[in-house]
Assembly symmetry: C2
Homo-oligomer: 465 residues x 2
């Protein structure tokens, strides 16, 4: 077994090695169950360090290509990535495609279905500068634990931003979290017990479904349409099941890109009052929008709405900073759980984000993002139409288009995508029950890459000229 590694190539040696190993496995030059050379032997044969081989093997283990057997070495996995895997425990062992966008070994593919913006779009100079400033400031930011509710200076900045969205959220009603998913976890653990029933949108956020399933909570599905949840279906479910709460994206919903209309929002709040329903409004795409928008937390006069926000989509997914707005008594319980389950958030990250909110660099960077996203959205919508794709609803902004090609199922689309170097996220991931779907979530930020362009064209069914 010998691989040709190029020390002068910009691709790191670890990646070259793991990609070539993966290719050997894919081509069956290494068969399932075959034993790999020892770390030392391969390192010597290739003239690389042992740590290079360890990391390459490790990536392939993470990707499901290799198995590590304790004390016996590394073996080609008998069930391989991409092949159908057995369903594991009820809440899964990453058995489906949900986390494949997060794998380090998939870096070569264009993640057209992913839920974040390209690194190249991000405010690198501004964030790096804020980080360096904090690193030179008070040492507490580098070393100390964060207070239970989060850093007061960050909460003050978040409060100011919420006032601009017409949401009355004094700093004592705000608690910081490690992103919106962490906020959802704190809420589910605090508000719900196994056996409770809640309302979710379909299609919707797959990680919310996973979380509710893990917690033993029963999901009732409300179809999401162009102007919000289907209110007729919602009213029937409310009457029949008395669910505890509704989870919703008002703006640029994930994955459909649709937004609540004022009429639907008012009626939703009326129904919530009639049926004593709490609403958990996950507004993590808020800053992709400027000017007036319809938000439940803005309209809510009864503290029925718990409001979630995040800096992961607009600033950084790496820093893990999000927040939640609720009544002070609930915030106190959430703060207790936040401490018990992990002694709080990162003071350093909160200081960095607070600084960018305070000095205006965050505001300027999201203005740039909005402009760029708007341009990409318009182009992708035009290209999909030209290639005979069907779009669920033209979004007015945000990252996502929900689209399909009539007559093509996911397996077909996935094969066409991979052939063009594109990694999709299956539409089934956005279904509460994981049902097969021919719809795809397309992240428009990646839509002008040549691989995406080729995929749109090859997968599409353009109308006869």
């Amino acid at each position: 077994m010998h691989f040709s590694l190029d020390r002068h190539h910009p691709t790191p040696l670890v990646q070259q090695l793991s990609e070539q190993l993966q290719a050997w496995i894919e081509q069956q030059r290494l068969r399932p169950g075959a034993r790999l050379p020892s770390i030392r032997a391969l390192a010597k044969a290739q003239g690389v360090s042992a740590s290079c081989v360890i990391e390459a093997y490790d990536r392939l283990v993470a990707g499901g290509w290799l198995e590590a057997r304790h004390g016996a070495g590394f073996f080609v996995a008998t069930r391989q990535a991409g092949a159908q895997r057995e369903v594991g425990e009820s809440w899964g062992e990453a058995t489906d495609g949900r986390w494949r966008q997060f794998r380090e070994d998939q870096a070569a593919l264009l993640k057209l279905g992913c839920g974040w913006l390209p690194v190249a779009w991000r405010a690198e100079a501004e964030l790096a500068q804020a980080i360096r400033q904090v690193s030179r400031g008070a040492a507490e930011a580098l070393f100390d634990y964060c207070p239970p509710q989060g850093l007061a200076s960050l909460r003050l900045q978040l409060h100011k931003g919420l006032v601009r969205r017409d949401i009355a959220a004094e700093p004592e009603r705000i608690i910081t979290t490690q992103g919106a998913s962490h906020a959802l976890d704190l809420l589910v653990r605090t508000l719900l017990v196994p056996g409770d029933t809640v309302l979710v949108e379909r299609p919707g956020y797959y990680n919310l479904y996973n979380l509710l399933r893990l917690h033993g909570v029963r999901m009732l599905e409300v179809p999401r349409g162009a102007s919000g949840p289907d209110l007729v279906a919602l009213e029937q479910l409310l009457a029949a099941h008395r669910p505890r709460c509704l989870f919703i994206n008002s703006l640029y919903q994930n994955p459909t890109g649709t937004s609540l209309t004022p009429k639907v929002a008012y009626r939703l709040l009326e129904l919530a009052r009639e049926h004593d329903l709490r609403i958990i409004e996950d507004d993590l795409y808020a800053d992709f929008q400027d000017g007036p928008a319809t938000r439940l937390a803005t309209l809510d006069s009864e503290q029925r709405v718990i409001y979630l926000g995040s800096l992961s989509k607009t600033l950084s997914s790496s820093l893990r900073v999000g927040y939640l707005v609720a009544e002070p008594a609930l915030v106190a319980r959430l703060a207790e759980l936040k401490m018990v389950s992990g002694i709080g958030t990162s003071r350093f990250a909160e200081q960095v984000v607070g600084q960018m909110l305070a000095n205006g660099s965050y505001r300027k960077s999201v203005q740039r993002l909005r402009t760029r996203l708007g341009q990409h959205m318009a182009k992708v919508l035009g290209q999909l139409e030209a290639n005979g794709w069907e779009v669920f609803c033209e979004p007015s902004g945000g990252m996502f288009v929900w689209a399909r090609v009539p007559g093509r199922d996911f397996a077909e689309l996935d094969a066409l995508a991979l052939a063009n170097g594109v990694l999709l996220t299956p539409g089934s991931a956005f279904d509460p029950q994981g049902r097969a779907s021919d719809w795809l979530r397309i992240n428009v930020a990646y839509g002008q890459d040549v691989r995406a362009q080729a995929f749109f064209q090859h997968a599409g069914r353009p109308p006869a000229a």
Copy 2:
């Protein structure tokens, strides 16, 4: 109401204002239930910004001195900090003193009972440099999500460190967490269901007790002695209750500072085998020790021990980086939960820590800490003895001494401490049932501060000359 604020004083205006407001409340110049001036009015009267007043009020709300009533303003709390509060939900609403070390408003007091090192002891130059290096490196570290098991480069460094501790932990057996408490949370949620029975040490880590109580897990208490858990009591509990697992600190136990002897460790593993018990070894003080030490994970040949580590105590509590070692199948389930409950850890923080582990700056900084801690431990032990304190067991290292003054209860010690500007952590916090205790956890790193010295002397009962 007017406060004299000094713009030229190094204490920030917010802190000056909040401290003076707190003093007014303490002196009952502002009575419980009294309404505070509006933010605008106080800002105008004092010639400060509205955000300064907001932050001061906010700190006092967080400290329990004020209450915010929605739409009506701020009021002096009717039940104030320090006074006896009602017990809330079963898992509490921070009703005891557990989180008082984390409050921003207690910054003026010496936290003699806290669980971390002073900022001045930390490797500020080294950490700041690593942060700046990462900020100038690949943009992925600033922006991208982290892979489910944690950054491969960090896990490789952790693996190397574990090899030096004679613990066989290949990178695929390691998963990163946001500190050891987060690791405990992932484990409890994955391994235990409500109604399960587990073994904990008494006294022990209060946040573990909170976590188990929150999860509905029943705790059996094993007394901790000078050489480890009481094996006679342990064997009886194992025979009578068949608990699922044991949570233990082998080294420099929190709060007693005691370490396992080899004899106790061997017998513990024998008992674990006989009774099919899993052991969760929280070794977060590992790096405070150099040279041979007795660890269960080192001796374990059956993968019975799940091993936890953290960088919070030795490097930074702000970055939130810890890890856990277990068999790959369990690691896969933990990784799934880690993603579902928060989409993973901070890539930035893991890159920074990985870099300091790789370039040797972490190793050098903990060598300095060990030397300094050893000197402080020796001094504090001598001073406690000279002042007639009783020490549970002289620790061979680490941060903690478990001590008391014969004849003085906690209320008496707490009053003496506050009179000397010292904030204690009550011994009751380290009891699984919160029973009153006259023992105190003393963090030796703070022992040479004049306030600690005065407290040791005033609270002690020196033997008659």
